[in-house]
């Protein structure tokens, strides 16, 4: 049965969205699916987004059906708004940032490790399972709304951060298929999805906004992550085309950090007045600070705003305390902390803040988004002409940029760096909260009905770690070189034979390789062998392994192989070992790193 709907799913770090468009209409009309979810125990409401939180129910709560849904009974967990609201009072029972764990290759993402460091009586789930639960909820919401149009038969696009490497994408896909999404599922990078949302809202007029040679910087600052992408406009066969040129590294810094920083600042103001806030009040303060940030930093925001924290009991006014917060202080705090004035040649500082490490995730040591941006832009600069690499246009995405002052802060930094050549904001409509989901639905629609596509291939190059032969030194690891198997920009639906010396694999045993990726080495081609590299050039991801079944007719216990890499039409990275004599091949699968921490 042909698909009737194009569906775009934004599986966000803090909020998930499902957008859809009928494939029957002549122009794509993208709508958001209202998502029925628990907003309090036993209370279901439809909201436009599903907070990506999971709450593990207490025993009594399961029996008294507190978290039952229209489509499920005796639920032992809850997702969505009710889970988010539990995160303040029951942090040990709440999973908050499953998506950030998906790309953290130092832990086994299939192990039940979340909530992180939960007490023994709280059952844990794996990052993959938590993601699956969010997607299952979206699928069930779809089924409720469209019982006769199973989601498995629709054209579905799911977004991932551009900075996700192949193994994080594979894990996302695994969670999606387990949740009932179709095999034909396409993964789309979020900044590209935001660009598609802009293309969708501009219609054919987009060609008036961008010209051949223009370079669009997409700056997507979400709740928990920052995702950078550069898209170039060029002319091919007389038609204007878009090509994704580069993506940034995975940065665990976003709007939540800013709200927390502001909440910390305000709680200090309370302390000066002799009020120490309890944990419940701190969360309430966090929410007030988010709202105050948007009000104070709006284009015509007030000079000061009173932030109050209500009492914990039913006495609201009697228990409430308040402080005056000054706009300039807030602007200075957030601009200096996150949109720091810096030189374009500056590198992010690597010094770890110890407090962050306890949470388990590798949060950025340097919260200055501008320094990460500078370092990203520097990597795209070719030596001869520094100017030509300045982006010409800028597209903001993410709720952070609802504050005009923060948009302006980023524009100011770009003006510092590039002067008159600084990029201008892309003309047109911008929906900072829902652009990714909407853009994904638009992309799904165009994949069936035709329309503009952003090309680009793989955003990273990939490498297999090969131990070099030679005398072993007792106690020292053998030196390793990195063999390029996938070049930057390898197109979907293509494959590459990797020229190399033959590699001997043992029959009947599992062969395991360390895998590295790079978002900065754009010139390596398959077969290139790197002897040394810097720590931020090549990033290790999950290992890959394959077991060679014993029916190889080589007769020897070693089988000489070479690598063959492939990017499928759906953008999936595949790596195989090919027996040089017979042509027989074995596909490698992602597995856990040897040095995983859990």
């Amino acid at each position: 049965m042909p698909a009737k709907y194009a569906i775009g799913i934004d599986l966000g770090t803090t909020n998930s969205v499902l957008a859809f468009a009928s494939l029957d209409s002549e122009i794509p009309q993208v709508e958001l699916l209202p998502i029925p979810q628990l907003v309090a125990p036993q209370t279901v409401e439809r909201r436009d987004s599903l907070p990506s939180f999971l709450y593990v129910a207490r025993r009594g709560e399961v029996e008294s059906h507190e978290f039952d849904l229209p489509w499920a009974e005796n639920c032992e967990f809850a997702v969505g708004e009710v889970a988010r609201s539990q995160s303040s009072e029951n942090p040990d029972r709440t999973v908050g940032t499953a998506k950030s764990w998906l790309c953290h290759s130092r832990v086994d993402r299939h192990q039940p490790i979340l909530p992180w460091k939960a007490p023994d009586n709280v059952p844990q789930v794996s990052p993959v399972t938590a993601s699956q639960r969010y997607l299952e909820h979206l699928v069930a919401s779809w089924t409720q709304a469209f019982p006769d149009e199973p989601i498995a038969q629709q054209q579905v696009v799911l977004t991932v951060p551009a900075s996700f490497d192949a193994s994080a994408r594979e894990l996302t896909r695994e969670a999606a298929l387990a949740a009932g999404l179709p095999d034909s599922l396409v993964l789309l990078e979020e900044p590209q999805a935001a660009t598609y949302a802009w293309l969708s809202s501009s219609g054919d007029d987009w060609r008036k906004s961008l010209a051949a040679g223009d370079r669009l910087l997409v700056c997507d600052v979400g709740g928990g992550t920052t995702d950078l992408t550069l898209v170039a406009a060029g002319e091919e066969d007389g038609e204007l085309q878009l090509r994704r040129q580069a993506v940034g590294n995975h940065l665990l810094v976003g709007g939540d950090n800013m709200d927390l920083a502001l909440a910390y600042h305000v709680s200090e103001l309370f302390r000066e007045k002799g009020t120490d806030l309890d944990p419940w009040q701190s969360v309430s303060l966090w929410h007030s600070c988010r709202a105050a940030k948007e009000t104070l930093l709006a284009a015509d925001g007030p000079e000061t705003q009173t932030i109050s924290v209500a009492g914990r009991g039913s006495r609201l006014i009697g228990g409430s305390v308040s402080v005056e917060v000054n706009r300039e202080d807030v602007a200075r705090l957030l601009v200096d902390g996150f949109f720091t004035k810096c030189d374009v040649s500056e590198q992010p500082s690597r010094q770890r803040v110890s407090g962050f490490q306890e949470i388990g995730l590798p949060y950025e040591a340097d919260t200055a988004i501008t320094r990460h941006l500078a370092s990203f832009l520097q990597r795209q600069t070719d030596e001869e002409s520094a100017d030509s690499s300045a982006p010409t246009h800028l597209l903001f995405n993410g709720g952070v940029f609802k504050s005009d002052r923060l948009q302006q802060a980023l524009l100011d930094r770009l003006a510092d760096w590039y002067g008159d050549a600084a990029p201008q904001i892309l003309a047109g409509d911008h929906d900072l909260d829902y652009a990714v989901g909407r853009g994904a639905a638009f992309y799904a629609w165009t994949s069936q009905r035709g329309g503009i596509r952003i090309r680009g291939g793989t955003p990273r190059s990939y490498y297999v770690g090969i131990e070099t032969a030679g005398l072993a030194i007792p106690g020292a690891p053998r030196p390793m070189s990195a063999l390029c198997v996938v070049p930057h920009g390898m197109e979907e639906g293509t494959e590459a034979d990797v020229p190399s010396e033959e590699i001997g694999l043992v029959v009947g045993e599992s062969a395991r390789f360390r895998i590295f990726s790079s978002s900065s080495r754009a010139d390596d081609v398959p077969g290139d062998k790197l002897k040394r590299w810097s720590a931020d050039e090549l990033v290790e991801t999950d290992s890959m392994e394959a077991t060679l079944n014993a029916d190889v007719d080589a007769g020897d216990e070693y089988v000489p192989v070479r690598f063959q890499s492939r990017i499928t039409e759906l953008g999936i990275f595949e790596l195989s070992c090919v027996h040089t004599a017979s042509g027989e091949s074995w596909k490698l699968e992602f597995s856990v790193r040897d040095d995983a921490e859990v």
């Binding site: 209370t43 409401e45 109050s308 009697g318």
Partner: protein, 171 residues
């Protein structure tokens, strides 16, 4: 509801669907009857939507806390400080659940065309209407709900009147 809820679970739970499919395909009709013979569901408890609305306003904006608190002892500044958040959060709830907008989308004080009579309850005339007069001045633009999307509640008899449960700190 037993059969329906099973159907929901089958739709959303691949494993259960597989188990059911195995049951259906593997054996005699006697076994396929089993899932249907679930215990009868008790009649759902009905709660007045007004309580559900109060619960939303209390949960998200603490409006009931505010209205139930005696305010004589507080200064205007104290009340004002607390009201800002209550106002913001109550407004969010009303916007989301009711999409409230003016009945007449014009600024107050401007001239309004009066068609036939008072337009079925959408307009209300103040003072005497002279015959033949076709316009008046907008004194209040009115309010209307664009939708009504209250949460649905599915709790027990004991909780039917609960606007906010009592909270117990276990620590």
């Amino acid at each position: 509801m037993g059969r329906l809820s099973l159907a929901w679970r089958v739709l959303t739970n691949g494993e259960l669907a597989q188990q059911l499919a195995d049951l259906v395909s593997a054996a005699a009709p006697v076994i396929t009857e089993q899932p249907v013979a679930a215990k009868p569901e008790p009649a759902p408890v009905v709660r007045n939507d007004a309580v559900t609305l109060l619960a939303s306003l209390q949960r998200e904006a603490r409006l009931v806390d505010f209205l139930m608190e005696p305010i004589d002892e507080y200064s205007d500044a104290q009340i004002g400080a607390a009201v800002r958040d209550i106002h913001r959060d109550s407004r969010t709830v009303l916007d989301r659940l009711f999409a409230i907008s003016p009945v007449v989308d014009q600024s107050e004080g401007s001239a309004v065309e009066i068609s036939d009579g008072v337009a079925g309850g959408r307009l209300r005339m103040i003072g005497e209407t002279e015959s033949g007069r076709t316009s008046g001045t907008l004194a209040h633009h009115g309010w209307q709900a664009g939708r009504c999307e209250l949460p649905t509640w599915n709790g027990s008899t004991q909780a039917v009147g609960v606007i906010a449960p009592a909270e117990i700190d276990a620590g």
